[in-house]
Amino acid sequence: MTTTTKYAARLDNGIKTYGEGESAVHALNGATAEFERGHFTAIMGPSGSGKSTLLHCIAGLDSLTSGSAYIGDVDLSSLKDRDLTLLRRERIGFVFQAFNLVPSLSAEENILLPLSIGGKKPDEDWYGQILDTVGLRDRLKHLPAELSGGEQQRVAAARALVSQPEIIFADEPSGNLDSKAGAELLAFMRRAVKEFGQTIVMVTHDPNTAAYADRIIFLEDGKTVDEMYDPTPDSVLDRLKSLGG
């Protein structure tokens, strides 16, 4: 059983190189990280540090040049496209910075998307619980274009939760939101971790956002250079300064 491993995901000496020869860019250069179950981890680093690449590689959206990425104890490099897709569908949830929703589907259809792609019905109790937490019950029949930015991201978060994935990856989830909507979304993600034991990995460059996490991993030049537990905005800022970012 995969759920028996301590880590929901981990990256072992991950190297990701774009291009060849002189023009080669090492987006990841031997990064190693573990993500414990039931934890909310933020990945921080200056732009170009490889934080998005790390997220993509560990989430099965991109492949490593060398090294290993695991979801549970499944080595992602051993999977073909189809199995990788099924793994994303069943075991991973996503919240992106923008363009999270399919415009032609209603909010409800978007939330249920990973389930309907797999031809599954939602667990009614769980679904109800999510809806109550996100607070979107009266907006379910609306199309994304009719929702505010904050509502759209909450729909995306609800979608990430609905299939009860082992891990949720979020890439700047509040990046396009105003501070109030952003705070609401992050608070909701935090509750998902505390109340439902959800594992979340989030990429951000914003100390305030990162402070919602239990732990922060700092990335520089494609390597994990530092980490910090129970951050506050100020402690994050200090650490960033000391890293020279």
Binding site: S52, H56, L61, D62, D81, R82, T85, L86, R88, R89, E90, G93, F94, F96, Q97, A98, F99, N100, L101, V102, P103, S104, L105, E109, L113, P114, S116, I117, G118, G119, R159, D171
Partner: protein
């Protein structure tokens, strides 16, 4: 950035290719038609040059309004011609088109294809294009000898010395094959079967007396052809004329040209449909592209480009695609010409594989069509592009021009459709000149009108067509359905292109089915005879080929038949207009053919020099029974005929005379139709069995019962339908490419959405399925519009032709269902490429923010 630029260039390349292909297909049909007919024309010109190389003057019967003629004239004319000063050589000959050669198994050679032509062998080589092929024996020199062209000999597997059955005026006879000929240096005269006899034998076989059907003259070296023609004219009796060889050559070239123009007009019409469909696609593509480039164009506006410059930019881009497409289309036109030639040869025509001819006219017309098509199609999108406000560079929603209200669209669409229907009605019901132009323009405008209305129907129809999809295919099906509803204009416009082809196929099917529905009634009513005999040859497209008169005489000998009655057909000129004329045996015709005479009109025909006239035709000419009408025959010249009665049926001709009168005024070469009834107590089948020795001996005669006639006509209708459908396939292929094009562009637009779906767990198969069903909905939508429109058009035309005997309007349900199914299948095909592309899309590109 570079990566994205390359990506976008690649997407543009595909768009470019698909758009150009629509132009290439349309233009290639146009160019191919021209190249093919020009090539044939050039071949005929060469041929005619060969034939007329040594002929300075041609002497022939003066057929007046009938044009060139092979009517015989007395042989003594040759003596007068030879006596004219300046004549070097002159030779008379006879020719016949009422001749048939049977192959070794007793079947007629040629059938429905190229004709069989009989000639007398000319002794003077400079006056005849026929040559003996190397090792091809000797020319026919007496009774019982025949010569055939090398192509026919090869195809039929004859060798010199074989006994060959030829059916002429006297019925089937055996001849010894003594010579194998070539026509100039060709083995074949475009597939025609050439049969040559020695002059006297030819006269006997063709049913000529001491006559010629033409005299060819060569002038002495220093005498001008025009001068000699005048001199010869002076010695000719009335009814015989002399023309220069050049004049006759020109006449024949013009005839050939006219014959070919039917083919080229037919092919060009279908090319026109393809071009029309291409216009839909190109316009649609440009509109999508302009929408996708909104930001880029707005940026150009923001940094100072004028709206006009933007408009010009879009048009120039279109013209560039048009230029490339047209040039490729002309190149592909050669392939088309070869394909048409292949099809003709498969149909039995021996079109020689000469070098294809490309005239400047072909280049000019093809370029004009290709460029004009793209120019016209890009005007509206270009105008739209020029109206993008600069602020759209910063704000996505600023580019959204206020949508024209649905009401405006409904009103405009209805008005345009109405105009189309009006023109159509004028063409169909009102008696205007060039009705076909009204019909074609009306149909085209109606198509445009419906395509304007189509977006209104896109959403509801997509819901109906796509209803089962979410139930069958879950989220892929739901998304397929929803995606077609997202841009109703785009969906409708893509579907409209398919609508045009499908509508025309449906129209022809309805027309064919309705014709079939009334055909059996018409045949049973018109041909009460138990058995009808006609020639399998087709020498004259308008009149039945003659059956040797010996056939009817033979039939008379059978006791199993109670009546044998023959009809002959010919042309007459009355008041300068050419008419068809039928000849009947007044004593028997009522038993075998439903002429519906008024009173005892038929028996009055027994009186020589009399005719009966269709009552409508009588009225139209302002005649009445008892009038004397001056009628001109090619053979006997002007004859005073008395109108002795009227009749109602006029399916074949407006004028009937007796066979006796016919023989007095025509070169009688045989019967057009022969009818027979089985004697009481003898079944039709038994009678048919009894007379089979005679029917078999005459090879080219087919005996049919009433229901066999119906079957044959139905088969012919089906064949015509298959041909039209085949030609419309081009328009359908272009429309399918259009679906591919739209989907490819839409996918490009939806990169991020597809990436998202893949990220959250959609496998490639589901992505492909989503795109595939989107295409199926669009295709089915187009097919439904097309079938609907086609049925309406078919109904209108059937109604318009009601007076001509079209009773029943009938919808071929099976074919309609099949068409819808095939359209859906075409959608699947159209989606193959875009679906693959969508499934292979890089997820990271899709989800990473710019």
């Amino acid at each position: 950035m570079i990566k994205t630029a390359i990506k976008s260039l690649f997407a543009h390349k595909i768009r470019f290719i698909l758009t150009a292909v629509a132009i290439v297909l349309g233009v290639s049909l146009v160019a191919g038609t021209f190249i093919f007919t020009d090539t044939i024309n050039a071949q005929f010109d060469d041929l005619l040059d060969d034939i007329y190389a040594g002929i300075d003057v041609s002497v022939r019967a003066d057929a007046g309004d009938f044009g060139a003629s092979t009517e015989p004239f007395p042989a003594e004319v040759l003596g007068s011609v030879l006596a004219v000063d300046g004549v070097d050589v002159a030779e008379g000959g006879v020719a016949s088109i009422s001749i048939q050669v049977l192959d070794k198994s007793g079947d007629p050679i040629g059938g429905q294809g190229p004709p069989t032509l009989g000639f007398s062998w000319g002794e003077v080589p400079s006056l005849s294009p026929m040559r003996i092929k190397d090792g091809g024996g000797l020319p026919p020199s007496g009774p019982g000898e025949v010569m055939l062209d090398a192509n026919t000999v090869d195809n039929a597997g004859f060798v010199l010395g074989d006994e060959v059955t030829v059916i002429g005026f006297l019925g089937p006879e055996e001849f010894e094959l003594v010579g194998i000929g070539s026509f100039g240096d060709q083995d074949s005269l475009l597939g025609a079967t050439l049969v040559l006899f020695e002059l006297e034998e030819a006269r006997r076989v063709f049913g000529f007396g001491d006559e010629f059907s033409g005299i060819s003259v060569q002038a002495v070296a220093d005498v001008d052809a025009d001068e000699l023609t005048e001199r010869i004219s002076l010695v000719l009796p009335s009814g015989v004329e002399a023309v220069t060889g050049e004049t006759e050559q020109d006449e024949q070239a013009a005839d050939i040209n006219e014959g070919l123009s039917f083919l080229s007009i037919g092919l060009l019409s279908f090319a026109g449909v393809s071009v029309f469909v291409g216009a839909f696609i190109i316009q649609n593509t440009f509109r999508i592209v302009v929408a996708q480039r909104t930001r880029e164009l707005a940026l150009l506006r923001a940094i100072g480009a004028t709206g006009r410059q933007i408009r010009v930019m879009v048009i120039v881009e279109a013209l560039f695609i048009g230029l490339v497409g047209s040039v490729a289309g002309i190149a592909f036109g050669f392939v088309m010409a070869l394909a048409i030639r292949g099809l003709m040869n498969a149909g039995g025509f021996g079109v020689p594989a000469d070098a294809l001819v490309l005239l400047p006219r072909t280049l000019v017309v093809s370029m004009l069509v290709g460029l004009g098509l793209t120019l016209l199609s890009s005007l509206l999108p270009a105008r739209k592009a020029s109206r993008i406000p600069p602020v759209a560079a910063m704000r996505e929603d600023a580019a959204r021009t206020p949508r024209r209200s649905l009401r405006t669209r409904a009103i405009a669409g209805t008005a345009i459709t109405g105009l189309g229907v009006l023109l159509l009605a004028v063409g169909l019901f009102a008696s205007v000149g060039r009705a076909i132009i009204f019909v074609a323009a009306g149909a085209a405008i109606a198509f445009i009108g419906v395509s304007v209305l189509a977006p209104l129907a896109a959403k509801p129809l997509a819901d109906v067509i796509g209803w089962p999809l979410p139930r069958l295919f879950g989220i892929s099906g739901l998304l397929a359905k929803e995606n077609t509803k997202r841009k109703p204009r785009r969906t409708a416009s893509t579907a409209s292109a398919l609508m045009v082809g499908v509508a025309l196929v449906a129209f022809f099917s309805v027309f064919g089915a309705s014709t079939k529905a009334s055909i059996s009634d018409t045949v049973f009513e018109l041909f009460p005879a138990d058995l009808t005999f006609q020639s399998e040859n087709q020498n004259d497209p308008e009149l039945p080929a003659a059956i040797s008169p010996a056939f009817a005489v033979d039939l008379e000998t059978y006791d199993e038949l109670s009546v044998v009655s023959a009809m002959q057909f010919g042309r007459v000129v009355i008041d300068g207009d050419q008419q068809f004329l039928g000849a009947v045996d007044p004593s028997t015709i009522n038993q075998v053919f439903a002429l519906q005479p008024n009173g005892d009109a038929v028996s009055a025909l027994s009186q020589p020099g009399s005719m009966i006239v269709a009552s409508g035709f009588l009225e139209k000419n302002g005649w009445k029974v008892g009038d004397i009408v001056t009628t001109e025959f090619a053979h006997s010249g002007e004859v005073e005929m008395s109108v002795v009665g009227t009749f109602e049926a006029d399916e074949f001709s407006n004028i009937y005379v007796s066979t006796e009168t016919f023989k007095a005024n025509y070169q009688y070469v045989g019967d057009g139709l022969v009818f027979a009834n089985a004697r009481d107590g003898v079944g039709v089948a038994a009678a048919q069995e009894a007379i089979s020795p005679t029917v078999d001996a005459f090879g080219n005669v087919k005996a049919q019962t009433k229901s066999e006639i119906v079957d044959e006509l139905e088969t012919q209708i089906d064949q015509a339908l298959a041909l039209f459908t085949g030609l419309l396939l081009f328009a359908v292929i272009i429309a399918i490419l259009g679906i591919t094009n739209t989907l490819t562009l839409s996918i490009y637009e939806r990169t991020r959405e597809i990436g998202l779906l893949r990220a959250v767990g959609m496998v490639r198969r589901q992505v492909r399925r989503m795109i595939r069903w989107e295409a199926v909905i669009i295709a089915t939508f187009g097919a439904i519009l097309g079938v609907g429109l086609g049925i309406v058009l078919g109904w209108a035309v059937v109604k318009a032709l009601e007076e001509e005997g079209f009773g029943a309007f009938s919808i071929p349900v099976g074919q309609v269902v099949l068409a819808l199914f095939l359209a859906a299948l075409a959608g699947v095909l159209a989606a193959i490429w875009p679906a693959r592309k969508a499934a292979r899309m890089n997820i990271l590109d899709a989800i990473s923010t710019e």
